[in-house]
Subunit: 291 residues, 2 copies
């Protein structure tokens, strides 16, 4: 199987043996934004044409390559969805004699009828689904954090939180950022931010405290950024965990560690999942194609 | 009395008769950011030197002219504060034979010990204090909205909400803004945003709904901006009103009307206050100087 994670800004390809072990991998910056219109087949051949030429390996791709800005738009699959539903909704692309499959994203609606969407995270989630208990809450922290309810190894529903993007723009473009500097993360200030998220007043008010605590000399330029991060992650955790006392985290180690620290101080038990599980899921989807 | 509101980006001067009526007013873009270091006296003379030359009128200035970036830094006065406390803490600036007074800003701490600050809004608040009941909650909506608890005509405490600035950066610098266009405000989408703020999930999640509702074709480019505004103002009102069923609004008519609409749909009764009351307060502070 040739497994490809093709996102907005990056392209990662894995050549897998018959057991799903990684034989070779390649990473480039050829994300979909760097591909000219109609140029997807050409880029794919450039990157892994030599692998494709060697056999009949199924090619499975996930991520923004299946979005409106990608190779083709693969419609979102409605939750609940597991391997079977996602495999059945893959779409084929062909060029010359060759073909590949693109994995769909997922969608669901909350109680108020508002939609949510993911594209790319579903393969990470499928990759860990076997390790989860019958009912589990999984957090994928990031620019747009996903909070996912698993029921019997299927994704039952999920919610997105704009935590990472809010942090970036508040730091870069508001009055809060004027007093900040890049520096070592400050664990104590981060922790104070998490505690702050639990106090009355709400997020829009807590944000202003980043400024006043800076003005009053209580926070230095690097600590201010950590305090802001703690406030935002604290709000996300409180709102998203919704009373759960156990959460699974699936993310890059540094970010996962921050979430673990914040969760601990809110009394939430955290278990880390393998952030590289997506390849396993793509392998299994490829095998299902053959079978 | 010569009353001056000297802010970050603007300068407004009023010449008042012995009863506080406005005889003349002048507005320029000479905010403190446009004044070179040490150049405040010169700019003041340029703008209202002819008024000063005509008599012994006290000059009272408020706003960022009293901040660290202003003419002199006038220390914040601790709440509770009313006319007497604020008048007593004014600081004098002199140039040649002439002098003027600068009004201090206010500060307070919340239950958790986090400071809040205002500078400029205090004169707007003093200007309406006589119209308020013995206990009142006043909202000054804006870039940094202020929520002010009055007790017996004094400012007892207050909280700042970064609503306006958050709206601006989310619209200009995040993925939410990519689907937005300037257009007529959409009252229905605004109202849906306010309702959304009352649903489970929290602000960071509700924000992502602006994107998904756009993706699903439920909101057009102009309606998306109104929906975002409704979400943010809704969260501010819910968090800041803290169960109060009656709020006084002091702000420019268009913004005050949005807050009134949002408050009504959350069951909060609103009374609008005169947004031009600052001049009355500066007049009274000037009279106190003489007396």
């Amino acid at each position: 199987v040739i497994a490809i994670d093709w996102g907005t800004s990056g392209f990662r390809a894995y050549r897998l043996d018959g057991h799903g072990n990684i034989l070779k991998s390649r990473t480039t910056a050829k994300g979909i934004l760097a591909v000219p219109a109609g140029g997807f087949a050409e880029v794919l051949e450039e990157q892994v044409g030599d692998w494709i030429a060697q056999g009949e390996a199924p090619i499975v791709m996930s991520g923004m390559v299946g979005s409106r800005q990608g190779w083709i738009e693969v419609p979102y699959v409605q939750c609940p969805a597991g391997f079977a539903e996602i495999a059945a909704a893959m779409r084929e692309v062909r060029w010359g004699e060759r073909r590949a499959r693109i994995v769909p994203g997922l969608t669901c609606r909350d109680a108020a009828g508002v939609h949510d969407v993911m594209r790319g995270e579903e393969v990470q989630l499928l990759g860990v689904s076997d390790e989860l208990p019958a009912a589990a809450l999984v957090c994928l922290p990031g620019t747009h954090s996903k909070w996912v309810v698993f029921e019997h190894q299927k994704i039952a529903k999920f919610s997105t939180y704009m935590t990472g993007e809010a942090y970036a723009v508040l730091k870069q473009h508001t009055i809060l950022g004027r007093m900040m500097e890049e520096g070592e993360p400050d664990a104590r200030a981060f922790s104070e931010g998490v505690e702050r998220s639990d106090e009355p007043g709400g997020l829009l008010h807590h944000l202003f405290g980043v400024r006043t605590r800076g003005l009053m000399g209580e926070l230095g330029p690097a600590a201010s950024a950590s305090y802001l991060s703690g406030i935002l992650i604290g709000h996300e955790l409180r709102d998203a965990a919704g009373g759960s006392t156990r959460v699974h985290i699936l993310g890059a180690p540094a970010l996962a560690a921050l979430y673990q620290q914040a969760a601990a101080s809110l009394g939430i038990e955290v278990q880390a999942l393998d952030p590289n599980a997506a390849v396993r899921a793509l392998f299994r989807l490829g095998v299902m194609l053959r079978g």
